[in-house]
Amino acid sequence: MSPTAEATPQEAPAKIFRCAAVSAVKHDYVARGMISHPRFELVVVADEPHIPDWAHERNQAFADEFKVPYVRDVERALKEFHVDVAIVSPEAERHCDLSIRAARAGCHIVQDKPLTTRRSEADRLRTEMARLGKRFLMWNRNGLPALVETRRLVESGELGALRAVHLDFYFAKDAGAPKGSRQPGYPLVNWQAHQIAAHLDGSDGGLGVEPMGELAIEGIYPLAYLRALTDAAVTRVFARGAPHFHQLNADNGVEDLATVTLELEGGLIASLAIGRIGLASHPSGGEIKLRLVGTKGAAVINEARPDVGIYYRNQPAREPRQRRVAVENDFLLADDFAQAIDSGRPTMLDVEESWKIFRTVEAALESIRTGQPVALRKQALSESGDGT
């Protein structure tokens, strides 16, 4: 492909960014989403040599599909293929390390969620991205039509000053057998083995060795909604969580349902209910809603709209009955990222905001453990360590 896109009469030719999928073992939809934009081109798939065979096989299959090489050496691939953008989607434990290495190799970063499983890694990423000055985008859903409209509504001032934001984020999906189904004497469900198998239907968001609850895996999405609607920082968190639905979560001691009370600067409050609540609990993937209360008005927003109802004889149980339409999330995220690179401005969900969301989730998990609210103090970049 040509290194530049066709110029419009009004604009200079826009640079085409050469992309590497730096591991595609989890959600290849991140890479697919980015390269669906005309300014991003996949040139190589890269990963580390020591990863297990199943991971190599996934990377190879992805490379074969797009007819690009698969290189088992991250730094060599980024250098030899002159990569501009690294799209990072390995197991959660490797997220930050691969992102940092790619940024050190001169790449801008698009990273899959969650940010990481460890605070030290989050701090290291924050420090290094700030030092290197590269753009960073955490994959998110803020480009969905309902979110774009909600943001416009808030920015228009029609609701007045926001006083409360309530977020429901339920994935009506199963995660293996229901809680209580394991017979006495049978072994505990292995987290990583389950996640590897769950790749088939894309529900392997928690891929990795370390078990993660739904709040840690998916919390970035609704909390990114909150970030999109207000600049106010979270100052205090109270949360409850438990495994209610799946044996996988019960066996691994991580929640599949959580509720969070958030208190923010300026007297704004928010709440979040999040869960992987089982396929039977909703006909179309899960109820995802935003409810906003402002000083002049309020709004109830269904994240899944607009949609079209599709029903037919012998319809598979897992097929959503309500199908989303006019979805441009991939394009809008990629477009925002391109513009951020062009201008040097932050992306719609940059490393600093992603780090704050990680800390909010971390505080919520601590609150679940202690049964008491947890205060979040502001932490300067210099307190996050030297990035080594």
């Binding site: 429901d168 409810r291 309020a298 269904n302 008491q372």
Partner: protein
């Protein structure tokens, strides 16, 4: 035949209720000949007159939102029964029936939203709607809350109460103040094997009359009142003792008190400290 005096509703509602409850005779409060009385909504006159109620009035039914403002200390020896009208709403009854039938499994989360044009919260008292929602949450969860945390927005225009139950159960109750006009209600219950969603958002009809579309929601309050009064009449007929239901309301008030303490202290309050 029972003669029931009713307060807190307008004449049209009283007539509508009367048609649904025949042969019970509904009359407007106050009425000297009434066997029992029901206060279904805010009614200053009824509140004033409660302590001077007719000696023949053997039982007084008071809806939760009325009781939230304080029960009279004296009802001339009659019995006061506090009921939560929300429990009688068709949507809430259906959800409870599904839970009782085991279709939803063990309740894990009750999530409710209630937006009204009532005054912002500035006093030491929770909005009555939140007490009602606390009672509904405990009723649907099937157990009392063990832990309470509450947060309030600046200006008191929004409050949320976060409840913890045994075995990891939880509830999040949101109250918000919106401009005068329609109110908004939403209740969802997630169980271990299913879920129920009762949301005004999904139950609204579109109306076009030039400019942006408006919406209308079919109100279930009348049917809820009829259900409540029908149950009350059954109780009176059977001389059933209803201490448990009264106790549930009083416990909701205790939880509400704990929520107020949580607002003041910024701490989660455990039941042993309610």
């Amino acid at each position: 035949m029972i003669r029931l005096a009713v307060a807190g509703v307008d004449d049209a509602t009283l007539r509508d209720l009367g048609r649904r409850l025949q042969p019970v005779r509904l009359v407007r409060w106050p009425c000297e000949e009434a066997d029992a009385a029901a206060v279904l909504g805010p009614c200053d006159a009824a509140r004033r007159d409660l302590s001077a109620a007719s000696p023949s009035l053997r039982t007084l039914l008071v809806c939760g939102d009325v009781a939230a403002a304080g029960l009279p200390s004296d009802s001339s020896g009659g019995e006061i029964r506090v009921r939560n009208l929300d429990r009688s709403r068709p949507s809430r009854q259906l959800i409870r029936q599904q839970l009782d039938a085991g279709k939803l499994g063990t309740p894990a989360l009750v999530r409710s939203h209630r937006w009204t044009s009532c005054a912002a919260v500035t006093s030491n008292r929770l909005p009555s709607g939140l007490l009602i929602d606390i009672d509904v949450a405990q009723w649907l969860m099937g157990s009392p809350a063990e832990l309470v945390y509450a947060a309030k927005s600046v200006g008191g225009e929004a409050i949320q109460i976060h409840l913890g139950f045994v075995a990891g159960g939880m509830a999040l109750l949101d109250w918000g103040r919106i401009p005068e006009g329609d109110e908004y209600r939403s209740l969802s219950v997630l169980g271990s094997s299913g879920a129920a969603y009762a949301d005004d958002h999904a139950n609204r009809q579109l109306v076009f009359g030039g400019g942006p579309a408006r919406t209308r929601v079919a109100d279930e309050t009348l049917r809820g009142m009829a259900n409540l009064l029908a149950d009350f009449v059954k109780e009176l007929d059977g001389n059933r003792v209803c201490e448990k239901v009264n106790a549930a309301w009083h416990d909701a008030v205790r939880v509400g008190g704990a929520a107020m303490r949580s607002l003041k202290t910024g701490q989660a309050i455990r039941r042993e400290d309610f």
